[in-house]
Symmetry: C4
Subunit: 215 residues, 4 copies
């Protein structure tokens, strides 16, 4: 393999992360949430490193060779491969929350359409759904789950700054959408993060259905 691991990261640890990413990517691709090589996935290895998908690969057909090592500034470590263009959004999560271990970014049709519809408002407000309880920390449908929608840009530092501004304002953040693009969410384990992603896709789809039906 072209990936050289630094001292302190065993190949067992790296492969465990890579395998978990490959499996998640395969499942999410089968749902149609990663069209045309879009989407990217990462998993924390330690305080200073994460494994992340290499840019431009078909997410339904990943193998260990499609996963690379980065530091938490987003630089490639021990490889010439180019990490996903949106790496900075992953490392931001790992730097901000030491307990977060996984970041998943997908690009489903529901996510893309919802982001366009709610772009002007800048936020999607979810309430009254039992499935809000799937987000860690939520214990009742009588709660409000806010998902911000940030304007899209090809310049990553602007996106990072938008996320920072939301956090600096002291607002809770469990996931965000980017306009015309997809969703980012995270968690303390792969299972928790996948549960978050699955619940958010479901809730966004329900909101779009309600809007269609209540018109």
């Amino acid at each position: 393999m072209s990936q050289v691991l630094p001292e302190g990261i065993s190949s067992d640890a790296f492969f465990a992360c890579a395998d978990a990413i490959v499996l998640a990517a395969k499942d999410l691709a089968a749902l149609g949430w990663t069209p045309a090589t879009s989407s990217n996935f990462s998993m924390r290895l330690d305080d200073a490193h994460a494994a992340i998908t290499i840019s431009g690969r078909d997410k339904g057909k990943l193998s260990r060779a499609d996963i690379m090592l980065i530091d938490l500034s987003g630089n490639a470590v021990g490889t010439d491969a180019r990490p996903s263009a949106e790496t900075a959004l992953h490392t931001q999560v790992y730097r901000y929350w030491p307990e977060m271990q996984v970041v998943l970014h997908t690009h489903s049709r529901t996510q893309s359409v919802a982001s366009r519809l709610f772009a002007t408002q800048g936020v999607i407000r979810l309430e009254g759904w039992e499935l809000q309880k799937a987000i860690t920390g939520f214990h009742t449908h009588e709660s409000v789950l806010e998902i911000p929608v940030f304007p899209n840009t090809q310049h990553m530092p602007e996106l990072v700054a938008q996320v920072d501004a939301w956090l600096d304002a002291g607002k809770p953040l469990h996931a965000y959408l980017i306009d015309g693009h997809g969703i980012y969410t995270w968690g303390r384990t792969m299972a928790e993060t996948r549960r978050h992603l699955e619940a958010l896709e479901f809730l966004l789809a329900c909101e779009l259905d309600l809007r269609r039906l209540s018109a």
Copy 2:
């Protein structure tokens, strides 16, 4: 296994129920009706016991170890596992109808959206569909099938009381929705209950389509 069976319940009987639940859960999860560890399933073992899914498990990946024994008051029997939060809604069915053997609760997008749309009316009235005949006791499309929609609450006794009130009013009950949540239905065999669930999902989806198209 950590599940200890009381005298009078053979492990063959328990495993037969567990396997039937695991298989149904796998099929229903593949349809996307159990997002983010939602949904729960049970099967009666005898006059005083049922097998039910343990809380919080991924319904697409259940095994025998994810099924536990309860009594018909909803208490765990022979295990420290925690049964589904909505266990009281299952045991209510088994206590009310001695002939009912299976209760299935799913949480599809169609079910969730329909429950929100019809919450104010408190009932969905189905008529004119050939598939109403899939509900035991219905022999023609020239019939009316009413599915009540109860307000959601995290306090189970309130939900149980709502179902009781409907039954006490002498109204037929084949299934019910909970607002922002999913559906409950039951039957005398697993096959009958799955047929009920499949027909109800289909009929709710048709009603939503008609509403979209008749606007």
Copy 3:
């Protein structure tokens, strides 16, 4: 097997039909077009007999044992099994067109919803779609394909009479819908009939989409 074959029908011939029906049913069930044990399928054996699905079976799980022999008046032959309730609609096709070998009746959501929407008009008029060419005898999108929608009834002779009336009026008939129910179509081979069914489902779904989008 409980099916006894009359002289002149070999078990090879019967099994060939049964296997073709089982395979088609499995594929159509996987598409969700046969919910809750609905739908029925048949195949002609000779001038006087056809093989047809036994009533009430799960169409995704058929085996040879779920297929029975009937005569073209719809009577069971060599078996105590009960043929599908709508057998008379199958045998009508075989009696009317000697060249027709296969009848498929499914019950998809699109078919059910379209039948309700167009019930008052009594017909769905398709034109301008390239896929009309998938119906035998159509060579251009510049044609009109009319699918009648008959009122539903549990009394089969009424349905048979409605189909007869359409044919007696000299109107072409490639398929029909029954209100709140599903579609019937047929062909000279299983491949042709499945192509017809697939094309009709596609065209009905496109018409519903156009209606939703042109509102």
Copy 4:
């Protein structure tokens, strides 16, 4: 095999193309984009030849025997098989762009419905979607991707002339729709062409969703 290869085309080269087409067709059929034997696929072999699907085959069940050789005028080479009716639209691409190696034509419901809705305007204008970057040459969502919609005709030279007119006007062309029919797109490799097709289907579906939801 009934396909005789001319000097200069090895069976290895021909089979490599045939296998790539068979695999793509199987995947696209599984998505439901090739209903009722519609759709056709080709791959360039050299400056003067391409492999293309034989007319009328079920695209989910192709084998090498369903692929034939043509020259770039669309004539069958070394076989009596009849190439797809729309062969002229494939060879036009290979003649116009020497670098293009693959042409995929599918017929999804989204493609058919979008073509009808935008037929009067004659073009679908996509902007603001991150997935526009999946089309080679696009590097930002702040771009405009125009997909022309040409009137349908059973007379291929008219369609060829419409495409020529668009190109002669100096307008960029990455794909086109035919009214009531499907989409054509192409690329320098099978992977690139499939990425184009997947992205275009996604973008058209998003546009239809937005239109439904913004009404």
